[in-house]
């Protein structure tokens, strides 16, 4: 029997990220498990990256591309700061990422990327991208391997879908953190690529980034 050989430039190393925008905050979360097929490569790898301008980059997928995207982006942010003599805003950074990703239209970064931060008014914002740079501004986002398990929970909890009183449910940042913890605990029961721990970062104008780590099941 002839076995076909091929070289595939991508791996999928999972990770699940959640981002929720509030009126004066942004809460982002990532699990800390890194996998390749059914092997666990790391139990302490977070998919949240703090950028120079206090934006938080969430990126899952192929770690090689995630790290390259992050490195290239850090360079672009510095160039922007030198040429414009001011830090880049999160909406401008989102536009920059979109252009960078579409620049690799025919050999894409294999990543599910979300950029979050505070806009110029201090309001939370979340921008989600597909691998080739299509961008949408969202109230909340969830990407990665457990996305099918988590996204409908966010629909129900944040938009109040399928209730007698649908609409955006406003939460304090503490309530949002608790909600995200509960969601990760539920999702890790049913997804083998999610587990070990969840890191939750809260970004506010006055306090900057606060971090909360919560253990999850390790099997």
């Amino acid at each position: 029997m002839v076995k076909e050989h091929g070289w595939y430039p991508y791996e999928f190393q999972s990770g699940t990220t959640v981002a929720v925008a509030g009126d004066d905050y942004v809460v982002v979360a990532s699990d800390t498990r890194l996998t390749e097929n059914y092997a666990i490569q790391s139990r302490t790898h977070s998919n949240v990256y703090k950028m120079h301008n206090n934006s938080l980059l969430l990126s899952t997928g192929f770690l090689g591309d995630v790290l390259t995207l992050k490195k290239t982006l850090e360079g672009r942010i510095k160039t922007y700061e030198y040429t414009h003599s001011k830090p880049i805003s999160t909406p401008a950074l989102a536009q920059m990422i979109s252009i960078m990703m579409y620049g690799r239209r025919f050999f894409p970064y294999y990543t599910n990327t979300v950029i979050t931060g505070l806009d110029t008014d201090g309001k939370g914002c979340v921008y989600a991208f597909d691998p080739v740079g299509s961008m949408t501004k969202q109230l909340y986002a969830c990407e990665g391997s457990a996305m099918p398990l988590i996204l409908p929970i966010l629909d129900a909890r944040i938009l109040g879908k399928n209730t007698s009183n649908p609409g955006h449910v406003k939460r304090t940042k503490e309530e949002t953190v608790t909600m995200i913890k509960d969601i990760y605990m539920a999702a890790c029961e049913r997804n083998v690529e999610l587990g070990d721990g969840v890191v939750i970062h809260t970004l506010t104008k006055d306090k900057g980034i606060e971090t909360d780590v919560h253990p999850l099941r390790k099997d």
Binding site: P152, N162, D182
Partner: protein, 207 residues
């Protein structure tokens, strides 16, 4: 979607346990890939007083398996002169599916039931070749099952009363199918108790 036979027609079902009650629910869509043909195609079948089966997958096999199971359960009750128990129904179903091990029916199955004397609850699931499961708290099969598992795991609490169980099951199903294009168009929910069985129809999003 693509060429997968299991998601050719779409549809999903969910079963959950409460305290001396059990709920089983399904959506109503029948489609061919992206085209919706009918919106009244329910996938839950009753066999005996407190025994229900939900079948998801290829619609033609859903009908065939449900009819063949009806035939076998009828024969069982005639020959044995006693009522069907959930575990018996489950064994008959998995046996029926395994008979076609090398040319299987393209259906995943759920069995939900209750012992009317003790109030003991039963929820089982199976793949298309009849793999048996434990008696679980929560089971879901069909195109939206991944969406529903997350919600179900969050909404499930041990020892829910019938009203809480109905609410948890409905919420998990409705929010789950809203993220799936192959299922939805309303739902039905059975709540099975010792002395009564309640059927409720849910409207949900019609798209």
């Amino acid at each position: 979607m693509g060429d997968d036979i299991m998601s050719y027609n779409g549809g999903v079902a969910l079963a959950m346990k409460g305290k001396e009650c059990v709920a089983i629910a399904c959506d109503k869509r029948y489609g061919v890939q992206n085209r919706t043909i009918a919106t009244n195609f329910t996938k839950i079948f009753q066999y005996g007083d407190h025994c229900f089966v939900a079948l998801c997958g290829l619609a033609t096999d859903v009908q065939t398996v449900s009819e063949r199971l009806k035939f076998r359960t009828n024969l069982y009750e005639l020959r044995e002169q006693r009522k069907l128990k959930p575990i018996v129904l489950y064994n008959m179903l998995t046996n029926l599916l395994y008979e076609r091990r090398f040319g299987p029916y393209f259906v995943y199955a759920l069995v939900a039931g209750l012992d009317p004397k003790t109030g003991e609850t039963f929820v089982y699931d199976s793949d298309n070749i009849g793999a048996i499961s434990d008696n679980v708290n929560l089971a879901t099969v069909g195109t939206a099952s991944d969406f529903i598992f997350g919600l179900g795991e969050l909404f499930f609490k041990p020892n829910m009363n019938p009203d809480e169980l109905f609410e948890a099951t409905s919420q998990a199903l409705l929010n789950g199918v809203d993220r799936d294009s192959a299922s939805g168009w309303g739902a039905i929910v059975y709540v099975i108790e010792k002395d009564k069985i309640t059927l409720r129809e849910l409207k949900g999003r019609q798209d």
